[in-house]
Each structure stands twice: as structure tokens, then as C-alpha cells.
Subunit: 339 residues, 2 copies
DNA sequence: TATCAACACGAAACCGTTTTCGTTCGGTGT
DNA sequence: ACACCGAACGAAAACGGTTTCGTGTTGATA
């Protein structure tokens, strides 16, 4: 086991000072050609690599970014992480992933763990519990310390920081419009409670489309499930009680599960009933029939979030200007709607 | 913006030395009750938190672990990450995720980025390119430096380190046996090239089951796709050319895609043809029909990997003993096979 | 020959902790 | 009165770098 070599080791071995070694390795003009070559050769031979921690301590930059998300076993979030990782890596940053598991407390603990020097900035999407409580003090503390934060997807307006979202309202609006154009009259909405910023926006888009088309908004065919987890029972009850000819769901899982329920009842998709979901993941592609969905472009969101964060981290000036980037959702037409 | 406060700040303010502050905060016996109370009160008031980087530098422990995996948009890997994150967090560790995207070069670069002090150890699953090349020098270098490594799922025997896998051979064996018991005679296998350690083991299990049952091994109904990515064309051609009554696939996507192909040809699942896949993800649960699969227990694998790694990191002794933990796969019966 | 700039390098501070090893001071024992 | 002791605290080294600011040695110039 050969331990890593330090500047001090090189200096001792070559009988020069540590400063000389440091400068030589940086190709400083101060150092003679001879010495530089000697030092660099020696460093290469012994595979010298500077210690990241020491460098971080010196220039108060870790080149790490913290990503705090509610869940990872969700296609949307994994694509976002992928986008973040790709972009960050290209700029020499590493990504520390923390899972809040939809819990306020875990979100707070995670942020505290990272906020003491481990990272240069945060990229986050709020846990549902946090959005429900409306308590954002952990975010305030962090931003007040001067640590940059980028919020994506599940955001709040109570915090001044950069934000990246898709136009959820428009996504739902376009999807609902599509269903209406195809002659659907009783369009159900399966969503989660309104405290989730995205669900709220989607519900608004849904309502807006119905209003514009002078269709009634029937509250009894709007199903609000309490979390992002599946409450299979309630969905079952819902379809037992309601007769609808189209369904808009705020995620893939609700959609696929609902489709299977109505298929079991003998309905044909999309002839008898159409479905549109959110998130263009594997489920959508490989479901039977394949799903028409509102694509959220998670990878793009990740890239943009990472770019905004790193730009802010690396900008010297304390600019107090924050931007909200709104991406346009795309309707991906497949076979759960009439073509 | 209130910057974070340091020991030095507290010392200056309270007119004591830095050492006194440090000790007071640690409740050292050396410091008088009076001074301790003063210091602790002040620290609380100004929300003092020690700087992680400085501590890392001091005791050469970062409390970060590096996770290098080929992809994240795969249910299996996300569950592993979740297991790792959960366990690691509980022991006060953070998780840095790096994606090799199945590329050897990216794997090497990622490891080099992290191996210079950023992490205390690695948990990895090899990229397919790495397994194909059989070049493990980046792993050797890291282990020779004394950095602990735990390999999971896609492993190699050329590196001495802890390993966590499921018994892939047994998984495929049990699945194949199941199909045979149900009277299937022509059982196809859809896998990837043998350089992937897991695919190789699964192929062996498949062969073993056939041999034991005195069924012919028909090489023409073994389809080897070149990567983990989907080559839809070849699967299509395969099912056009072959008549089989059961299919074992090494992942969910192959399975679902194949099912849809044969369904389009008018075959009934599972009456005419049965399917078994690997990985118990969302696709399996929500496919139509739902999939019978070999569950890999990714979260458990993650937890165990994290435990092995952290135990090694925190053990003082330089024990050169490595263990391989083999988890038992579970056959989850659903509707793509006869019940 | 005294002066000076350029060159090549080293000393030391610094980042924020921890920890070892003094040091000071008042009190105790004899 | 003297040595000794323990309590309470501070100085300084150390972790591994970067960077500023000298400093000694040249050779050229006036």
C-alpha cells in the first residue's frame, strides 16, 4: 500500500521548499526551467495529486453541489439528477445526493449536514411535507448565509432564489384541450393535494381548459390523493363510482394503474376512454397501450439548474438578481388517446 | 447576509484563546464551568457549526462515500442508491453519485476526481465497457492507496475487495425451472453479451436448468444484445424467426418490449407464451399482464454495500480480509406466467 | 566599485479545526 | 518559607495546500 504523496514529501526528497514545489507544479514563471522539470518529473513518477480537501479549505470552494430531492425511485427525478450530474461533471463539480423521502425533517437534516462547508450550493425540489407545512426557514437560513440555491419543479415563492420549472399549468391545459378536441366530455383529473406546487398548477390548467370550452367543472370527477404514493383503494372506488370518457393524471403511475382498472372493466383504450399522464418515462413507453403524456424534460431541467447554480457560485459579484426559468412541456402523443 | 462564524471569531469576542473555545464546545474537563457556559451560550446564539472541511483535513476522514454506477435511469440502480443513502445517512455519511454511463473513460475520470481526498471509500458497479475491456487498473490503484472499495452487482474477481451480488445463476435457474415445470419446451433467453458478469451468470443458470431437465439447448433461441440499451430491431427479427413458448429476459425492458411484440402477433400471455424477467420495478408491476420476475433486492444490496464499506472505513486495523455477500434472488410470481 | 534589476527560491501566513504540551497561579503540606 | 500540585487556560504544531512578501545571488550598468 503506497500512501499518497504530498508537497512536503516532494520538497524533502528534492531538497527544495514546499513553495517551490507548489509553484513548479503550476508552471510558475518564478521557477527555473531546471527545477520545474525536476519537480514535475518527480511528481509524475510518484503520481502526485493535490489533496482536494486542503484546496477546498484554502479557497473556500469545494466543487461539490448538494442535490436534495424527495425521492429517487421516480423517473422524473432520476432524469433530473442525470442532467445535473452531466453538466456539473463537465465543469469539474461533484454531486452529493440527499433524499428527503418527502419528509420535512429529513430535508432539514440533510441541508444542515451539507451547509457547513461540504458544498458550494444547493439544487433542490421540496418534499411534499415541506410544501404542506409551508415552513421554509431552513432555506432562508441557507440563503442568508450566502449559499446559492436553485429550486426546481417543486418550488415556493417565499424564497428568493433561482428557480427552474416547467409550465405545469400549460401542460395540463394543452393536455385537457387535446382531450376536448377529441370530443371527450367527462374528463376526470387524478392529482394530489393542492399543497404540492406542481399539482396545484396542473389543476388550474385543467380547469382553465374546461372553462374555455364551456364544459362544466365537475368536482366529483376530480380525485385528490394525499401523497405521491399509490392509494390503490381510492382509485378503485373512484372508477367504480364515476363514468368518464377521459382521464388526466399528474403522473405515470396513476395513469397506468387507472388504465388497468378500466381495462378490467372491459373498456377499450382509447376508443371508450382516453388517458393522458405526466412524465415521459419507461412506463409510458412500454405500457399497453403506450401513454400519451406531458413530457417534463427532466434532464434539461437538471442541466439548466446546474448551470444556474454553478454560474452563481463562480460569479464574484454578489448580484441579488434571481431568475425563474420556465420550460415548455411537450405533449407526446401515443396510443392512450385517439390519434 | 450573515457569514458563518468560526472558532476564531468566538475566541476574539470572548477574549479567550481558540483552544479554550474548542475545548469548551466539546465539554472538556479542562475548562471551568463558567467559561464553558459562556462559550456554549455564545456559540448557540450565533449558531456556530464547525466547518466540515477543516475537520476533514484534520482527521483525514471526509464522511463522504463515492458511488460510481453505470446509469441512474434504471430502477435497479435507483433502489441501490436509495439503500446506500439511507444507511450511510444514518451513520452520518454523505453520498456522492457519479455516473459512468457505461463508459470506461468516464468511470476512470470519476474515480480520479474522487480519489484525491474527497471520499473515504467507493461503492461501485462496473460499466459494461470496463467489463468488456477487462481493464481494472483504476480499481487497483485505488485499493493500493488503501481506499476501501465495495463492488456490487457488476463485479470482477480480479480485484480483491468486498463484494455484494445476488446469486444470478440461481435466479435464472429457478426461473427457468419454473417455466419447465409449467410444461414449456422451447424457452428463449434474451440477454446481453457475456462480458457482463451478471448476464454470464444468468445464462449459466438458464443452461443448467435446461440440462437438468434433459431439454436441448438451442443456441438459436438465445439472443445476445450488445449493450443494456434497446436494440428493438433485433428483438423484432428474433421473434419473427423463432417460435417459442416461453422467454426469460435479463431485464424488465427486454421483457416488456418482447411481450408487446408477441401480443401484436396475436399470442396470448401467459396461455400461449410465458415471460419472466429480471428486476422487480415499476414496469413489472404495471405492465399488462404484470410480470413474473426475479427480484434483485436492490435496496438491500445498497444497504449491505454501505455497511461493509463504512465498517471497513472505520475499522482501524488493516485487515486484509475481504468478503463476498451473496443475496438470494426471489421469484415474484405475477401474470406473465401461468399461476 | 557601488548600485540596481532580474532571477530563483524560501519563509511564513493563512484556511478552520484538534490536540499536545506547556505555563501561570493559588492553595496545600511540612 | 519552600517545594509541590492541580486547575484553568494558552501557544503552537499539525492537516496539505496557496500565495504574498521577502532575500540572496547574479550580471549589467554608471
Amino acid at each position: 500500500m503506497k500512501a499518497k504523496i504530498t508537497l512536503k514529501d516532494i520538497a524533502r526528497e528534492l531538497e527544495v521548499s514546499i513553495s517551490t514545489v507548489s509553484k513548479a507544479l503550476k508552471n510558475s514563471e518564478e521557477i527555473s526551467r531546471d527545477t520545474k522539470e525536476k519537480v514535475q518529473a518527480f511528481a509524475k513518477l510518484y503520481n502526485y495529486k493535490p489533496n482536494n480537501i486542503a484546496i477546498s479549505l484554502k479557497n473556500k470552494r469545494t466543487k461539490n453541489i448538494g442535490v436534495v430531492i424527495p425521492a429517487i425511485v421516480h423517473h422524473f427525478f432520476t432524469t433530473v439528477i442525470r442532467g445535473i450530474e452531466k453538466y456539473a461533471n463537465a465543469r469539474g463539480y461533484n454531486v452529493i445526493v440527499c433524499l428527503s423521502e418527502e419528509s420535512f425533517d429529513k430535508e432539514v437534516i440533510n441541508m444542515e449536514m451539507l451547509a457547513n462547508g461540504s458544498i458550494d450550493g444547493f439544487i433542490m425540489s421540496l418534499s411534499s411535507e415541506t410544501q404542506q407545512k409551508g415552513d421554509y426557514n431552513h432555506l432562508k437560513e441557507v440563503t442568508e448565509q450566502g449559499i446559492p440555491v436553485v429550486l426546481f419543479d417543486r418550488i415556493t415563492n417565499e424564497i428568493d432564489c433561482d428557480k427552474v420549472i416547467i409550465d405545469d399549468q400549460m401542460g395540463a391545459y394543452v393536455a385537457t384541450k387535446k382531450l376536448i378536441e377529441q370530443g371527450r366530455k367527462k374528463i376526470a383529473l387524478i392529482t394530489t393535494d393542492d399543497y404540492l406546487s406542481v399539482s396545484k398548477a396542473r389543476t388550474e390548467g385543467y380547469r382553465k381548459a374546461l372553462l374555455e370550452s364551456e364544459l362544466d367543472i365537475d368536482e366529483s370527477i376530480i380525485l385528490k390523493l394525499s401523497t405521491m404514493e399509490m392509494d390503490e383503494e381510492r382509485i378503485r372506488d373512484f372508477f367504480d363510482a364515476q363514468e368518464v370518457d377521459a382521464v388526466l393524471c399528474v403522473n405515470e403511475i396513476f395513469t397506468v394503474f387507472s388504465m388497468r382498472l378500466v381495462q378490467k372493466k372491459g373498456l377499450k383504450i382509447p376508443e371508450d376512454i382516453s388517458f393522458i399522464g405526466f412524465t415521459d418515462g419507461l412506463l409510458s413507453k412500454y405500457a399497453n397501450p403506450s401513454l400519451t403524456v406531458v413530457a417534463q424534460h427532466g434532464e434539461k431541467m437538471g442541466e439548466i439548474s446546474a448551470q444556474m447554480l454553478i454560474d452563481k457560485v463562480e460569479s464574484e459579484e454578489e448580484e441579488e438578481s434571481f431568475h425563474t426559468k420556465i420550460l415548455e412541456p411537450t405533449l407526446v402523443i401515443r396510443n392512450s388517446t385517439i390519434n
